[in-house]
Symmetry: C2
Subunit: 418 residues, 2 copies
């Protein structure tokens, strides 16, 4: 037992679903804020909860370097370490290592890279990337992939895509053999509770400080030897560059290997936005409809809404958080660069249509002052708003899918059309 | 009507009091966190409210440079600008300018200084410092003083102290003539509400966006021409260096000028801590018992508790917030330097006896990771804890004063002692 995915309704290609993980249920389509180093920069966990964040993304490459997998594992995995009891997804480290450019070297066996922090040499194989992600203990983890650079020759893209397929099979093999080593695997009641019982959250909070294995031991001694122990879910990643045919091949073979969810990787690497959209659309056709589909590392609010309408269930992006720290804010009236002098005496809220705690309380003038004075609070408040705006965008998309379904239902009830 | 001060009970020299301002009631002894640029660095205002912050300090020098007095005034003063409806105190700018060293020049007329931001030249006189503080609109403002350097010749200290007395008289004169220009002076219901009516907070929140003067106009048209309009309260500052006799003279003459509260300034300028304590103790003797006494810019948790026991009612210090950003945390078990490797896998809370939102949720290991990784959230959470710890310290002091009074009351009721 790792995840369950259920589609409640559809509208065109879009799907409204529920993804149940060992750490709670997620309404899809979902946007996942990025918490690179086990923190969404500047935002306390209780504020993330209040904003309605259902699942966070952590970066394996960064967490592997700091604080290190072993430290996180000893604290019960990322959930215990960062005191976050909702779902978490970790990337494979492939994209991060890819972005190191001169500091990496890829072979069939894996990728050697140098730390951006101290230049020390490290090695990720599909197997060691799995071991790291099992130690970090996210609910959803990703197979190690090679993210092909853009632009690239077709033969280079094919070779890279085919190696990613071999890495996917190796990732799956290692994962299946080691998935019970997840830090919380002993805490059977965590998973079974989240996958059915209403007090999942409190149960797993209280279990965080217990010795690993004690809950499972209890469960076994209670005479339920066959009870399903929750594990992580491993997703495969489709590569194939900007080539629709290679994407199709990659998708088909990744599905052959078989995963509970599929990601489309290798996008947002410098290609035109229209190409991103085209690759997503054509690749989605080759992914099974009953499994969650995750597009990695996109995009603007308009883009994530569009991709959701095309049938994407999960997305993540650093844009809302990174832009916030640079004073770029997303609002219902368009982008606002809060550093501009025109806001210096603007008493209005950042976004008059937003009900987040920032827009409810502070003026553009105050936010502009905080930014201009390089005050920490500016980065905090800007991030809270942008994350809120992204989550609201996805809420609106989910609502629209639901309404679309209802509208069709109502029109069907009103009798056959001529 | 500006402030009211009432002493509810005493224990030894310590006093438990209530200071009523146009923006709410303050229990004394009180610690005032420093919000230099209209923000307690990294902490949103709702968190400050939750922590029980009753009054914040803003720095006139910094706010005068950024965002400028006129911007703040137009937004309804600091309360409207930063969306903080509880009490605020601004310093005179004297101490900040004093710390500029080579960038300032003092004369009888005032002090010329260069901005630390761009080197531009500025001038504070007692009158212009008052004008700035009236525009900023804090509830309590401070007379312009010269903060004498340490060590200094006695004649230099005397001259400086005497000039501060003349500046105090000029400050008071200007303030009395202009105090009705405070940005919220028109909002009569703000002040009268806070000084008696229970819905003070909501009244002043809603008034923040109204045109200045409209509420007062309403009040006048309602046939209450004599209704007291709330104003700021101007405190005098005692100087005199580390010389008890000069401090006595300064106190006596400052009291002669007459203020609703008195501060002891010119401390924490490099003198030994025992000297600080001695000067505070000897100066308190010469300050009226029925007025609030404020020691500026002190100290550690132990020191603020001790000064409160000596009869000090108000204190401020950058120590809890600045130390937090450098990973130095105050706990019931002593100081913790969270950067230390010994905390890397420490699952315990920062302070097992603290119930703040940081200690309730996060481990030392997580706080250490955030600090070591230079994550924004580390500075945020550390600051929340340290401010909480300072406020808890003062809560405990107030509780002890109350218990001391009750204990005496109970022992008196049990009959005369032999």
């Amino acid at each position: 037992m790792s995840i369950q995915f259920k589609i409640d309704s559809t509208a065109g290609s879009a799907r409204l679903g529920k993804l149940t993980t060992p750490h709670g249920e997620i309404e899809t389509p979902v946007f996942m804020p990025v918490g690179t180093l086990a923190s969404v920069k500047g935002v306390p966990q209780d504020v993330l909860e209040e904003l309605g964040v259902q699942i966070l993304l952590g970066n394996t490459y960064h967490l592997y370097l700091r604080p290190g997998v072993e430290t996180v594992r000893k604290m019960g995995g990322l959930h215990g370490f960062m005191s976050w009891d909702r779902a978490i997804l970790t990337d494979s480290g492939g994209f991060q290592v890819f972005s190191l450019n001169e500091l990496r070297k890829v072979s069939e066996e894996g990728v050697t890279f140098r730390s951006h922090l101290d230049g020390s040499s490290h090695f990720f194989s599909p197997e060691s990337a799995m071991a790291a992600q099992i130690g970090l203990g996210a609910d959803i983890i990703m197979a190690l992939d090679e993210c092909t650079e853009y632009p690239a020759e077709r033969s280079r893209v094919r070779d890279s895509m085919e190696m990613t397929l071999r890495w996917a099979a190796r990732s799956k093999k290692y994962f299946e053999e080691h998935k019970r080593e997840v830090p919380w695997s002993g805490h059977a009641h965590v998973g079974t509770a989240a996958l059915g019982c209403p007090d999942a959250r409190s149960a797993s909070v209280s279990s965080a400080s217990e010795g690993a294995g004690s809950a499972a031991a209890e469960l076994r001694s209670a005479g339920q030897p066959g009870a399903a122990v929750p594990t992580q879910a491993l997703f495969g990643i489709v590569q194939g560059g900007m080539d629709r045919e290679l994407r199709r091949e990659s998708a088909l073979h990744t599905v052959e290997i078989g995963f509970p969810g599929y990601a489309i990787g290798g996008l947002s690497v410098g290609e035109p936005r229209e190409r991103t959209r085209e690759i997503i659309e054509s690749t989605l056709e080759h992914l099974p409809a009953d499994k969650p589909r995750y597009v990695m590392g996109v995009g603007t609010p308009e883009e994530i809404a569009e991709y959701a309408r095309m049938g994407v269930d999960m997305m993540d992006c650093v844009l809302p958080t990174r832009a916030a720290r640079h004073g770029l804010l997303f609002t219902s009236e368009g982008k606002v660069s809060i550093k501009q002098a025109r806001y210096a005496q603007d008493e209005g809220p950042l976004d008059p249509n937003c009900r987040c705690r920032v827009c409810s309380r502070y003026s553009r003038a105050y936010l502009r002052h905080l930014y201009a004075s390089n005050e920490l609070l500016g980065q905090v408040l800007n991030t809270v708003h942008n994350v809120s705006y992204y989550l609201d965008t996805m809420r609106a998309v989910r609502h629209a899918i639901q309404l679309g379904e209802r509208a069709r239902f109502l029109s069907e009830r009103s009798g056959p059309k001529p």
